[in-house]
């Protein structure tokens, strides 16, 4: 199942995503949390801490530099961009932080 959570910044979508992810993981599901926001904060709400959240993003940035996206394989994606969070939720930051589109 794929679920997208959207909403105006500050409305609480990241908190909502995090509780949904953790709850479904606790019910026995294999959950992947994708942070697709160009200002990624999901790690904090999931409970991995702000340092790890920052590390994940800079890892993403480092891999981005000069590199085209070819990750079609899920495991590759998670191993390149991801981290293990509480309740077995796997977190990956998949946004581009420097996208210049208006929004």
């Amino acid at each position: 199942m794929k679920l997208a959570v959207v909403g105006k910044g500050g409305s609480g979508k990241t908190t909502t995503s995090s509780v949904i992810a953790r709850t479904l993981a606790r019910s026995g599901k294999a959950v992947v949390a994708l942070d697709c926001d160009s200002n990624p904060n999901l790690g904090i709400s999931l409970g991995v801490g702000d340092e790890e959240t920052e590390r994940l993003v800079s890892m993403r940035q480092a891999l981005d530099e000069g590199e085209e996206e070819h990750a079609n394989n899920w495991d590759t994606l998670i191993s390149r961009y991801g981290s293990d969070g509480p309740d077995g939720v796997r977190l990956a930051v998949v946004s581009r932080i420097d996208n210049p589109e208006p929004g």
Binding site: S38, N39, N41, S45, D50, T53, P100, P102
Partner: protein, 255 residues
């Protein structure tokens, strides 16, 4: 002054920057307020209903011709940035001029030329005529990817939450990456509730906190009613805090 207000979504940028623009204008300064968010926000905080503002016309932007050099798109040479602002901005209370993106009513794809024109006009506006107060959308997408080039000072609005602090640090780092366009980077603490919040924000961002805007129920109410905080609650702690910020920055002659 050319200040761009940035920060994580929901921090209070529109309310703070809109109030800032009105207070600055009341001092007698010429103020141009700009909003580059595809969704409405600053207009209400300035005291305007968004229906009044048509988008910049598509033909303000022209495409490079066959064989011509340079970027694919540029401002129509017939368009003078000063005149563009005069023509396409609207007047808000206290004489503030207001220029915003075309707001997305239909397919966002239809507005990209207008939005590009907006960016060109703002970035090519020579200094001196207006103080510019800009409200950039929440997050990092626009902040330092060409949408804030016009600014000399970046004001990062930060709430006392871990996520907002992280966003603030991120924005501060991004601001520092452009050595050709050095900017002063300041922080404003927003929705302050507790002793120690300001210090937490200063420590957590490594920035100078130049104002502390308290959590203010009246500001929230103004927002719910789509009214300018300065009109709805002129004496509220939050509005007064922004007025002090205007005073402080005016005295410093921040550019």
């Amino acid at each position: 002054m050319r200040l761009a207000f940035v920060g994580k979504g929901g921090a209070g940028k529109s309310a703070i920057s809109g109030t800032f623009a009105r207070v600055l204008a009341r001092q007698g300064d010429k103020v141009l307020a700009i909003d580059s968010d595809p969704l409405p926000g600053l207009a209400f905080s300035l005291g305007l209903a968004i229906d009044h503002t048509p988008p910049i016309p598509d033909d303000a932007v022209v495409e490079r011709k066959e064989g011509e050099e340079g970027p694919r798109w540029r401002l129509n040479p017939d368009v003078d940035p000063f005149e563009a602002v005069e023509r396409w901005s609207v007047e808000a209370p206290d004489g503030v001029r207001f220029l915003q993106f075309g707001k997305i009513l239909g397919d966002p794809k239809n507005l990209w030329r207008s939005q590009m024109a907006f960016r060109f006009v703002i970035n090519q506006l020579p200094a001196g005529r207006w103080n510019v107060v800009g409200d950039l959308p929440g997050g990092t997408r626009q902040a330092f990817t060409g949408w804030g080039t016009w600014a000399n000072t970046i004001v990062i609005v930060v709430e006392p939450t871990a996520k907002s602090l992280l966003s603030g640090r991120r924005l501060a780092r991004m601001a520092d990456l452009d050595p050709e366009n050095p900017k002063r980077i300041l922080a404003v603490a927003s929705k302050v509730r507790e002793e120690g919040d300001v210090e937490m924000i200063a420590k957590g961002t490594g920035l100078e906190v130049v104002a502390s805007v308290p959590w203010d129920e009246e500001l929230a109410e103004a927002e719910r009613r789509q009214l300018a905080p300065i009109d709805f609650a002129p004496g509220s702690p939050a509005v007064l805090a922004v007025a002090s910020l205007v005073e402080r920055l005016s005295e410093e002659k921040v550019s």
